[in-house]
């Protein structure tokens, strides 16, 4: 599984050996990702262009479990020849996880600047909020602190009458 990164990507004989980047998570696990997939992340893209990517890249904020899945996401989205519909279905499955994991994905996407994953995560959370009453939202995200009844009454009134 650990093939040495090729010294130069411009060797002539086909097939070109794929350039791999190695990432290390906060808990010490390493993961390999193709350069083309890594380009999905703006942070990694900058590093690649500045040629810092030949050695191990530490990703201190992200655990191994989450990083593995992020690598999976980037690889899937870098694949050629996948049509929009099946990619959409794959994405839907990808985010069908518990809230904690979903929020981990979002934070990882934010740190690594992966716009596709960030949008997907945020849209998923937004979809969980759409059409729900405040109590339902509280239940969904297990939020216990709330406003006092007076505050709530005031805000409710404002929401209904003050603006659209």
């Amino acid at each position: 599984m650990s093939s040495p990164p090729s010294a130069s990507a411009s060797s002539s004989p086909p097939p070109c050996p794929k350039k791999m980047i190695t990432l290390r998570s906060s808990d010490g696990a390493t993961f390999e990702i193709e350069e083309t997939a890594a380009l999905q992340s703006k942070t990694l893209e900058n590093m690649i262009h500045e040629n810092c990517a030949s050695t191990l890249i530490p990703v201190p904020n992200i655990t191994g479990e989450v990083l593995a899945r992020v690598v999976e996401f980037c690889s899937k989205h870098a694949e050629a020849g996948v049509d929009d519909e099946s990619l959409g279905a794959w994405d839907e499955e990808f985010v069908a996880v518990d809230h904690t994991t979903l929020f981990d994905y979002i934070r990882a996407a934010n740190f690594l600047e992966i716009p596709t994953l960030l949008d997907l995560g945020c849209q998923t959370v937004a979809d969980m909020i759409k059409g729900k009453t405040p109590d339902e939202i509280k239940k969904t995200f297990k939020i216990t602190t709330a406003c006092t009844p007076e505050e709530e009454e005031e805000v409710r009134g404002e929401n209904q009458w003050a603006f659209e």
């Binding site: 655990t63 904690t100 934070r107 603006f163 659209e164």
Partner: protein, 671 residues
Amino acid sequence: MKRHKPAVAPAPAPEGPALFDLLSEEIVFMILDFLDEDPLDRKAFSLVCRSFLALESRHRKSLRPLRAEHLPTALARYPGAAALDLSLCPRVTDASLAVVAAARGDALRSLDLSRSRFFTAAGLMGLASRCRGLLELDLSNATEMRDSAAAAVAEFKNLEKLRLARCKSVTDIGVGCIAVGCRKLRLLSLKWCLGVGDLGVGLVAVKCKEIRSLDLSYLPISNKCLPSIMKLQYLEELVLEGCFGIDDECPVILKDGCKSLKVLDMSSCQNITHVGSSSITNGAGCLQHLTLAYGSPVTFALAASLKRLSMLESLKLDGCMVTTSGLKAIGNCCLSLTGLSLSKCSGVTDDGLSFLVTKHKQLKRLDITCCRKITDVSIAHITSLCAGLTSLRMESCSHVPKEAFVLIGQRCHALEELDLTDNEVDDEGLKSIARCSKLSILKLGICLNITDEGLSHIGKSCSKLVELDLYRSAGITGLGIQEVARGCPSLETVNVSYCNDITDASLMSLSKCKRLKTLEIRGCPLITSLGLAAIAVHCRQLSKLDIKKCCNIDDAGMIPLAHFSQNLRQINLSYTSVTDVGLLSLASISCLQSMTILHLKGLTPSGLAAALLACGGLTKVKLQASFKVVLPQPLFEHLEARGCLFHWRNKVLQAELDPKCWKLLLEDVMH
């Protein structure tokens, strides 16, 4: 620190805001950006807990208050709202403007006062002195506004977009002040500013060098102002609709032309022929969109003048008389054309149209509304040659036989918009059209040959449908609607007026379409309050509702609307069984602006008065003239001062005509 493996009993998830606390404010703002469809979603979010309230308050960038009285609280709650849309506040006084100025100051970027009255030049002056960062201002419809107010507007030195449509009391002097004061203007609309002429427009052209978009529609300007307009270096969009003062005598100085011009609209310029329009488009080699609607005949000469517009993408010739040689000449030039409108053009023949389409296979948008000489020959050409067609409008092409519509579905699979109103299309045609799975707008009004069978094909395949019009297509019953509701969850606009077999069950199916915003079910006698309740409960984004002549809807239908339809802006209740009670209950819908309430048998004068007083946001009410005399005049004065306009009608109760009889009557009128 490795994550622990899940125990046999699932560990409790982290409590409370701990979950959302993991996300930075920036990320929560991104999530809130996705909650832009229904205003109620962000409101629900804000009520969850104190930190969510604070987050939502910091996130909101634009605000649309419902009443001017609530401005202070709304502005205090949303310190970041820099775009203020007061179009729901009919009454905005100088005091309200002062509140805005004090609360926002230089941070205010955009202000919409186009539906508001009662402010004066003094208020605008106060605003200008404190809101120096204002970039966008809409003062359209301020018919009483005079040059003194325009001078106040000139004090907004950083203004980039200014709309003054229908400000008919402003003169050249006022516009001159604005031109001198607002040097950074990029967009200016003076449409219908009948007091402005060559002098004012000339000053704008000389002083506002940054102008990109200029709307001079219906101004009494003449050829004299054109040379200076054409010298504007960055001008991209010029609208000269209805400028009767511009004629073919345009000076040939225009040979320098306007190189940056991309959009030109010269509709309804009665005194310009191809000679004049040729001079104006001289040098405008970058022109992309040209509108010559309701103008002089489209002849060979006109088409020839279009030859040098090599980048022309769209051409609108609505309402012009067209010759076959003209059409053929257009066919031979403008090869970059992707959009063509021949709506209501007389003289469009199969010969001309087929030739044109043969040369323009890349056409994406084609409008042949009311081209009554077109037959299946043209349709065959269009469908076989223009495979990339995304929009086809062919309302009232009465000579196209029903067999021709099958061709549309066979070949034009990129279609997103299709208007077949008042045509012979039948179920076979619809079955074929259902293959256009990208359809989002489908208009099948007055199509008397279609039935539920045809519609069910649409329901099965066109899942992206957003707008469906079945006005007076009496062959459609509740079953057809149920099929569509099942298969088209994205529907936003539905019109089934006068399809008298629509039932409550159909409305219950339609309630699955959560995005429904506009529903017109006029003249459906089988519908009761039960069906309406289903829509009210499930379709929270409902904004426009027309239930005229649904005589079986009564007060019981108004209660759910009052409770659930908090986005309802416009309602037509004429000829229903709603009484005082039902009407009054609608007062709890805070954004209700427009009401049409003719011939409500159960409406009493005092009930009407109570309802009108309670509905604080009303700006437009249509009702019977008979109420004018039985209610006290001070009541109407008070309501008008609050910003409500009354439209009085003397309509007599009309019996419904059967659809075919109605259609024949219309044809008699047309020929």
